[in-house]
């Protein structure tokens, strides 16, 4: 909310409704859990907080569930197959998850809340922190000049390929529009477009970077072996609020996910 008078500027962002997006992998062997922690800076009260969980992706119908009973400063979590029981019968793949938190206390700023996604299989388990929460757009219409998104659709990342891991870029698009990322990297000393393709509406898409970004790049001798370390940057059109990007590292041999880094 913003109150602007003659010569007086007073800003206050309504941030009691926030959301973030992440991804999970669901197969017959891999199960995913979502952990969330609604918090509001130093506010110590246990105000009620609702958690809206939405799952979307290729081959499945977008679906949501409202988790009631949450409280500020009380961490909680749920297995995705418990949140969406029908999911077990609908194949497997990489899916996008949107976590939206809302508190009726209008003065609370929930942007410090956090989400951890956990993927578990008999062979491995992996946890990663989702991208920071952003204020939901519909709540910030009164504040057109406020910085509701720290990235504002601009993305920059570092990809590492070595003897054990290969990198990929995961783009989680919860909008209803096709996304054409405009990414760039340094190729033979000059700025060059990084061609990765498009991201369908309401989907989470993984783009391998070993061919498009790392192949042909200079490798470095490091203490952990030879490695290609490349940077990329660019703009995600319409990606100011409902698109998130992650670097996913997979084991070179088994292809299992080993690390996820939010951009």
């Amino acid at each position: 909310m913003s109150a602007r008078g003659d010569g007086v500027v007073m800003d206050r962002i309504i941030a009691n409704s926030v959301s973030t997006r992440a991804f999970c992998v669901m197969t017959s062997a891999i199960r995913s859990r979502v952990h969330f922690f609604p918090t509001a800076g130093t506010t110590a009260g246990h105000y009620p907080v609702s958690c809206h969980l939405t799952l979307f992706g290729k081959g499945i119908e977008r679906r949501s569930v409202l988790l009631e009973g949450g409280r500020l400063n009380q961490p909680d979590g749920i297995r995705l197959e418990d949140a969406f029981p029908s999911l077990a019968n609908e194949g497997s793949g990489m899916y996008g998850i949107e976590v939206a938190l809302e508190c009726p206390q209008g003065r609370l700023d929930l942007r410090n809340s956090r989400v951890v996604i956990e993927m578990v299989s008999p062979e491995f388990s992996l946890s990663y922190g989702a991208a920071p929460f952003k204020v939901n757009a519909e709540k910030s219409e009164e504040e057109p000049n406020s910085e509701v998104s720290p990235s504002n659709g601009i993305v920059s990342g570092i990809a590492v390929e070595d003897e054990s891991v290969v990198p990929s870029l995961v783009i989680v698009n919860s909008t209803s529009e096709l996304i054409r990322p405009d990414l760039r990297h340094i190729l033979r000393g000059a700025e060059s477009p990084l061609h990765i393709g498009t991201v369908a509406p309401e989907s989470a898409v993984e783009f391998a970077l070993d061919e498009s970004l790392c192949k042909g790049a200079q490798s470095h001798e490091t203490l952990w072996g030879r490695a290609v370390v490349e940077k990329f940057w660019g703009v995600i059109p319409n990606g100011d609020s409902k698109v998130e990007c992650y670097i996913l590292s997979r084991d070179r041999v088994s292809k299992r996910p080993v690390s996820v880094c939010a951009l």
Binding site: F37, G41, T42, N112, I158, W224, V229, I247
Partner: protein, 229 residues
């Protein structure tokens, strides 16, 4: 460096179990300059500065700073040679830490500083055969009290850890904290729990957690970075 410089605090650890490497990249606007400079300060577990160094690299490349050669003055505590690395780079640069724990490799984004009674949370699975190492790093100039609360079932024991200015601590949840608690129910089976970590008063911290899972032999012990804020 200007006021808009990027400054981050990383926990770093060295061989034999750990390997830490800093990766730095600049945004296109910064790439208009030929070289990029990163100023690094390294503090030991007690917050004593052991190294101050600067590295320069071509701005259109990713800077790779292997920390091991700079770790000579760091102390070993709890079997881990470790320290607190403060990195300052120009505005619009990214700093990522490649942390290898055993065979597990993680790329860690810029750590979030938790300050003034804000709270971090970490999910974990409690069980007799698991161990969780809580990494706490004091980013401030004063001694810091960190409150760690474990929530599992209907229980929520709480402990306070003191960390010197710019120092760091690795605390074993099971061996150092839960061993002082009279309840042993967490050792039966595996149960979901959450850690809530908060600095007292005007302090500021960075925290992360490493899980240790037993193997059939010492070589097969599995480590993984569960969470880093």
């Amino acid at each position: 460096m200007t006021d808009t410089a990027v400054k981050n605090h990383f926990w770093i650890a060295g061989p034999p179990l750990f390997s830490s490497t800093l990766l730095i990249s600049s945004a296109p606007a910064v790439s208009s300059v030929a070289t990029l400079e990163a100023a690094c300060e390294l503090f030991d577990v007690d917050g004593i500065k052991t190294q101050g160094f600067k590295v320069e690299f071509p701005a259109n490349e990713v800077g790779i700073v292997e920390i091991e050669p700079f770790m000579a003055g760091l102390k070993t505590k709890g079997g881990i040679t470790q320290g607190h690395l403060v990195v300052t780079t120009p505005a619009d640069t990214r700093q990522i830490c490649r942390l290898q724990v055993g065979k597990q490799v993680d790329l860690l984004s810029e750590p979030k500083v938790i300050k003034n009674r804000e709270m971090a949370f970490m999910p974990l699975l409690l069980g007799a055969k698991r161990e969780h190492l809580i990494v706490l790093l004091n980013t401030g100039e004063e001694v810091c009290q960190v409150v760690t609360r474990l929530l599992y079932g209907s229980r929520s024991p709480e402990w306070t850890t003191q960390i010197p200015a710019y120092g760091c601590r690795v605390v074993s949840l099971e061996h150092e904290l839960l061993s002082t608690f009279d309840d042993l129910s967490w050792q039966k089976g595996i149960s979901q729990g959450y850690l809530r970590i908060s600095p007292r008063a005007q302090s500021s911290i960075v925290c992360q957690m490493i899980e240790k899972l037993p193997g059939e032999t010492e070589d097969n012990i599995l480590y993984r970075n569960v969470c880093a804020w």
